[in-house]
């Protein structure tokens, strides 16, 4: 029963996203917004694997997303837009960056890990700003979107919506499978108590490095999608504020379960848009809302149903 209940919320969210184009969200603008939410949701899922799964709080996740996007740019400038090339390049480049920087960063812990991941992301950020062949600070407008085996169907908004949704569901499933596996159990155990994990004969380091690399690859996928959604890539993709945004999506969504990351990403993207419709000073409302969410939503959005049930039972 508890297991069913745990699966109900993510399935409901995915079903709502699938039905959204027919529930009044079928207009161009609404679809763009939802695609953005789902793409950032994919990146946030990868980050959730680190924060919620392995207890590694990274403030450099946007770098991996940006490297995926810049892989699209480099291939686009070379005249290659075939997904069979672009996809492995984007995911591979981001995963490789994660592997190399993670090998150093995972030696530290806590706030030092936060800062060293930030440092590597800033290095990547300033590097992309100096790539004059790809627009430097001004960014790069893609000649064309990624094609799948030569076909151009992802250019259709509705097709792209379902492509993002399918990948989102696949990444969510991957996270859940990983978490339930032996690998995931070692990760979670090391998050709770690294000394005990070592005492029973596991070294957490390689497990954490693999998780960091997988999260990097997932972010690279999100970067590829984001570059396609906006048809424009700029160094701001890698800015530390965006890493912060991803982290806030994960925290707001809740660390209890991976689908929290999706809820957090959708909530932040939609809330920003909704509030911006009222006033240009929408952050005056959004900021205090974040504070209130921290003070009163202890389990994040994913923990909300449980919290409500608790209230009803007591009341």
């Amino acid at each position: 029963m508890a297991r069913l209940r745990g699966a109900a919320l993510p399935l409901l969210v995915l079903a709502l996203l699938a039905a959204a184009p027919f529930l009044g969200f079928g207009a161009g603008h609404a679809l763009t917004l939802l695609a953005r939410g789902m793409i950032l949701g994919i990146a946030a899922l990868g980050l959730w694997l680190l924060v919620g799964g392995a207890g590694l709080v990274s403030l450099g996740h946007a770098a991996m997303l940006g490297i995926g996007a810049y892989a699209v740019v480099v291939l686009d400038a070379a005249g290659i837009s075939e997904a069979a090339v672009v996809l492995p390049a984007a995911m591979g480049a981001a995963a490789l960056f994660a592997l190399l920087t993670g090998a150093i960063a995972i030696g530290t812990s806590g706030v030092h890990f936060i800062m060293i991941t930030l440092a590597f992301a800033q290095m990547a950020f300033f590097t992309t700003g100096s790539l004059s062949a790809y627009g430097g600070d001004d960014g790069y407008t893609l000649y064309g979107r990624t094609t799948v085996l030569g076909a151009r169907w992802p250019e259709d908004r509705l097709a792209f919506h379902y492509l993002c949704l399918g990948l989102l569901a696949a990444v969510l499933a991957l996270c859940q499978v990983l978490l339930a596996s032996r690998f995931g159990r070692v990760l979670r155990a090391a998050k709770e108590n690294a000394e005990r994990v070592q005492a029973v004969g596991f070294n957490p380091y390689p497990y954490r490095l693999v998780a960091y690399t997988i999260a990097g690859g997932i972010a690279g996928l999100a970067g590829l999608l984001l570059a396609n959604a906006t048809e424009f890539v700029a160094p701001s993709f890698l800015a530390w504020q965006r890493s912060g945004d991803l982290l806030f999506m994960v925290i707001l969504g809740g660390l209890g379960a991976p689908h929290g990351a999706i809820l957090g990403a959708l909530a932040i993207v939609l809330l920003e848009e909704w509030l911006a419709g009222f006033t240009e000073h929408w952050r005056l409302i959004f900021g205090p809302l974040l504070v209130l969410a921290v003070l009163f939503l202890r389990g994040g959005l994913a923990g909300l149903p449980g919290q409500l049930r608790g209230l009803l039972r007591r009341g």
Partner: protein
């Protein structure tokens, strides 16, 4: 690159360093003593600059502005502590990060709503205007020297306060073992408030002092916040001495890197790519230094927490 130019850049670097120290000192104490990550510390600096600039315009005097901005910065810091931060001390770091980020969003936007998005200017006071000749062929603005001197004086004062007074001893004890301090019957709530208000005032002071030489604009606190975090991590969390040395180091690396790197790159590259690669490398240098220091000393140069 002449020796004069190098000296000017070194002085500029030290001056950026003391400003960073003023912001980082509050941050490292709050972090070290209360184990509280306050991202909103950067906006305290920004508010100091805005208060300074608008009070200077109102009173027509830099000195009145400085005198009035400090208690105002203190009051805002204490108000934020009472409204938000105090409820977060016993929460995990992630909650603190998210909530204080909410405070940043609110205050950045509030500043835009009140003062507009155009940068404000604050005039240099008459007493400290003009330049001074440090050596033949080397003119340096008096005001920048004044920042350096004021920053060093405050660093000394802070050192005396932390190392030589009872309150300082409590702060150091809190940074090294907080539960033990509470167990000994110290009212940690009051200590936290004191440290917090003091840190907010120092950041506000840095903002007022920086206002005449920088443009006062929304978001100016974010850049300083990140550099201040770099400083406290390099210096070792909770250590005022570490923050001081790391702040000067970061200030020098940042300033000298920007002026030297493009020339250095010209040895290997053609002028145009050298300028670009040099600028990118210069911006990266601080982070490269931090990553290198953390890779070899994962707890910073002067860690305060024992064991």
């Amino acid at each position: 690159m002449t020796i004069q130019l190098l000296l000017v850049q070194a002085l500029n670097g030290l001056q950026l360093g003391v400003l960073l120290f003023l912001v980082a000192a509050g941050l490292t104490l709050v972090f070290g003593v209360m184990d509280f990550i306050n991202l909103a510390h950067g906006v305290q600096y920004m508010l100091g600059a805005y208060l300074g600039a608008s009070l200077a315009a109102l009173t027509g005097s830099f000195w009145w502005a400085l005198l009035l901005a400090l208690p105002a910065a203190l009051a805002i810091g204490l108000l934020l502590e009472w409204l938000v931060f105090r409820h977060l001390y016993d929460r995990d770091h992630l909650s603190q990060v998210l909530a204080t980020f909410g405070v940043i969003l609110f205050l950045n936007q509030a500043v835009k709503a009140v003062w507009g998005t155009a940068p404000l200017q604050m005039p240099v006071p008459d007493l400290l205007s003009g330049g001074i000749s440090l050596m033949p062929g080397l003119q340096y603005p008096v005001y920048r020297l004044a920042i350096l001197v004021a920053g060093l004086a405050i660093a000394l004062l802070l050192w005396l306060l932390v190392e030589r007074t009872r309150a300082g001893a409590l702060v150091r004890a809190g940074a090294s073992n907080r539960p033990m301090l509470a167990a000994l019957g110290i009212d940690t709530g009051r200590l936290f408030m004191l440290v917090f208000g003091f840190g907010a005032m120092l950041a506000g002071f840095a903002g007022v002092m920086a206002a005449p030489i920088l443009s006062v604009e929304p978001g100016m606190g974010d850049t300083v916040l990140i550099l201040a975090f770099v400083v406290i991590v390099i210096g070792g969390i909770g250590s005022v001495r570490g923050a001081f040395l790391a702040a000067l180091l970061v200030g020098l690396i940042e300033t000298l890197g920007r002026s030297l790197m493009p020339d250095l790159m010209r040895i290997f590259l053609a002028p145009a790519p050298a300028r670009q690669a040099g600028a990118a490398l210069a911006s990266m240098l601080v982070y490269v230094a931090m990553a290198a220091i953390l890779a070899f000393r994962p707890r910073g140069l002067f860690p305060a927490r024992g064991g």
